[in-house]
């Protein structure tokens, strides 16, 4: 299945604005994050600390709804899902 990943602000600088990833059906969000990290050392360092934990400040959205990091290992993705990754916001 294909999932679209969008990155913003400093994350876009590293990961690109919009990238399509091919995943096995019923993959969860953690599988996608690992796949993104495998694409470049810069992406891995951006997403994960040196213990392999997802960095605390990263905000995740699936189909424009925020998702808690507690569900990363259980939230199953579907064909056509849009996953967004971004740093803390700074508008206003």
């Amino acid at each position: 299945m294909k999932v679209l990943v969008r990155a913003f602000a400093g994350f876009r600088d590293v990961m690109g604005e919009s990238t399509s990833y091919d995943l096995p059906d019923k993959s969860d969000l953690s599988t996608l994050l690992s796949l993104i990290a495998s694409r470049s050392e810069e992406s891995r360092a951006l997403l994960f600390d040196n213990k392999g934990q997802l960095r605390g400040h990263i905000i995740l959205m699936v189909n424009r709804k925020r998702v808690s990091r507690t569900v990363i290992g259980t939230l199953l993705l579907s064909e056509g899902d849009e996953v967004a990754l971004y740093p803390p916001v700074a508008g206003g």
Partner: protein, 133 residues
């Protein structure tokens, strides 16, 4: 009106439009680009999500405070010193609710709406850190 826009806006137009027979006061907040030794800023948004979030913040404010209207306009794109960034206009029967709702809305925008600022200086550029890291 709730909008993310690349165009400038006239705060006065929206303040005037908030007048209604039940309105006794209108509070507005206009954020502008401050000269912190910068040459320009660039605002980037996850536009679809940011727009949904602004609507949600308006709904929250309308249910929490005794107010009659909320307008929020947020610009994106490259802006110069003195340019408008954000406009919030709140109409209410009484001033206290309008002041409180306006402050609530700008605080919520800074917490949750996916918009980021990049500052340009003579030495280069940097992403402005969040007030809510």
């Amino acid at each position: 009106m709730i909008a993310i826009t690349r165009e400038d806006f006239d705060p006065g137009t929206y303040i005037q439009a908030a007048i209604d027979s039940k309105v006794g006061g209108i509070v507005s907040f206009t954020g502008v680009v401050r000269d912190d030794g910068i040459t320009a800023i660039e605002l980037e948004a996850y536009e679809e999500a940011a727009l949904e979030e602004l609507h949600a913040i308006k709904d929250e404010a309308m249910s929490r405070f005794a107010i009659t209207s909320v307008d929020i306009l947020h610009r994106i794109g490259r802006l110069a010193i003195g340019d408008h960034i954000v406009l919030i206009v709140v109409g209410a029967s009484h001033r206290r609710s309008a002041f409180e709702a306006c402050e609530y809305i700008i605080n919520r925008i800074k917490e949750t709406v996916p918009i980021w600022k990049k500052e340009y200086t003579n030495k280069g550029m940097r992403w402005v850190p969040s007030e809510h890291p």
